[in-house]
């Protein structure tokens, strides 16, 4: 497994336990989604992988190395993270934002080609290249954030609620891109509230309930067989199999 999370506890301050013994695995080349309601602890799990949430106990290993180790470098291991608020720099232009995604790369000669490729994937970014990023709409900012993360040439891409609050047509676009990336071989851990679409595109999904407990996991069929999951989601994911295939 590329990413293995075992019995993870995360605690904010003295009393707030955001994750209570969450375990999760992502294999190389897999598209795995983590779904659950607001406040379930999904974002916290992503943050603990990139080292911005205080891990209390449990382990996170990436490619055999302990992520919680001080020497572990998220960047050198090519883990890209798109935060929920997208983290677009509004005082920079679209182009400057994009280039910043490649700031740590040593193979400077290939960067321009990679930028071309992302501009082909997200044409709107090329159009707005020298505009201030603050002028972009929410959907455009999300595209910029994903494109910027891809310029790291990530092995593992962590997406935190990429479709939150976006128009349906943009949501479609983002899910298309996610599938496209999986086909290109990028390993993806997707955090979503949109359970239907996530289970549909993912190889496997985990369902998380507050405060940070995994209720169940698997593909649509396995999830459907799990009573707790069906109960929590409010629908049975089996129907999705027939719809999408």
């Amino acid at each position: 497994m590329l990413l293995e999370i075992n019995e993870l506890f995360v605690r904010y301050g003295k009393s707030v336990m955001a994750l209570q013994g969450a375990s999760l695995e992502v294999g190389e080349g897999e598209l795995v989604s983590l779904i659950g309601q607001n406040g379930a602890g999904k974002s916290t799990l992503l943050k603990s992988i990139v080292g911005i949430a205080p891990v209390h106990s449990g382990s996170i290993t990436y490619d055999g190395a302990a992520v919680t180790d001080k020497k572990f470098s998220v960047i050198k291991n090519r883990i890209a993270y798109v935060p929920e608020d997208r983290g677009v720099f509004s005082s920079l232009t679209v182009g400057e934002n994009l280039r910043l995604g490649a700031v740590s790369r040593k193979d400077t000669r290939n960067i321009d080609a990679d930028i071309e490729r992302e501009l082909a994937r997200f044409p709107i970014l090329g159009e707005y290249w020298s505009r201030g990023a603050s002028l972009l709409s929410g959907g455009e900012q999300q595209q910029l954030a994903i494109a910027r993360a891809l310029l790291l040439r990530p092995k593992l891409l962590l997406l935190d609620e990429p479709t939150l609050g976006l128009a349906p047509i943009i949501v479609d676009l983002i899910f298309d891109v996610i599938e496209q990336l999986r086909d290109e071989g990028v390993t993806i851990l997707l955090v979503e509230q949109n359970a239907v679409r996530s289970i549909e595109v993912s190889d496997r999904s985990y369902v998380m309930q507050a405060p940070g407990k995994i209720l169940g996991s698997g593909d649509a069929k396995e999830l459907a067989a799990n009573e707790a999951v069906v109960d929590y989601l409010g629908f049975s994911p089996t129907g999705l199999l027939g719809d999408s295939e």
């Binding site: 993270y81 005082s91 910043l100 995604g101 790291l152």
Partner: protein, 291 residues
Amino acid sequence: MILQIIVDMVGLGATYALLTIGIALLFGILGLMNFAYGEIIMIGAFAMYLFKDYPWFVGVLAAVVFAVVVSVLTERLAFRPLRNADPVTLMIASFAVSLALQSVMRMTVLPRTQGVPPQPFLTESITVFGIRVTVLQIVTLVLCGVLLGGLALLMKKTPLGVQLRASAENFQVAKSLGVKGSFVIMSAFAIAGVMAAASGVILVARQGAVSAEMGLTPLLIGIVGAVVGGMSNLKGAALGGLLLGMGTGLLEATLPTDLIAFRDAFLYSAVMVVLVIRPQGLLSGTKVRTS
């Protein structure tokens, strides 16, 4: 007469803008209101005194080296261990750094005020269209223009500049993209050091003396300018400094003589009012980072 006042105002404004930029740069990136900035200026000025018997460019070069080295050292020794502290703690820490630098200088090489005779050519003046301009004023204007322009270019056109701007806006996200936080912060301190050195050089040329306490006045000016212009926005801060300088020049030219001594009281009252009405600064559109 009016033209003469305007020329003086612009000269003072450019000098103040330089002071403000050094403060605002570090504030934007670290949330640090650096009270030790005045001492960095003093170190630069001290270099001018140390090399006063050499050609002037030796002193200027030494001023830059001294100020940059000390500025970077304060980061390494005092501010880095406090990287995650809140702005008020950082401000108190910078008080301590300021006092420490002052006392070290007073103990060792600068126990009392020392005179630095200005370069003779600086005091000469030329008259253009009936306006008397000293060479010092021209040099000041050119120096400030070159430095502010150079900084603007650096921030706009170079990768380092982009990283500095990104870090100032959101340090956490910049780091998660692979921007090297320590390198960016160190660069910011180095740039602030260059600005401080230039301010020190100008100050020495104007006052003709250096002392361990000389940093206080320029520091307070820099802070006021930054507050007025908008602390986390360099363009706003530079404009704030310029306006402050021009305002000060205007006050000096127009205030009745017995009120000039109270100039600072008026200025700081204005600062308090600005803080309440527009905490993000008069000239800045963005919200200021408060914690």
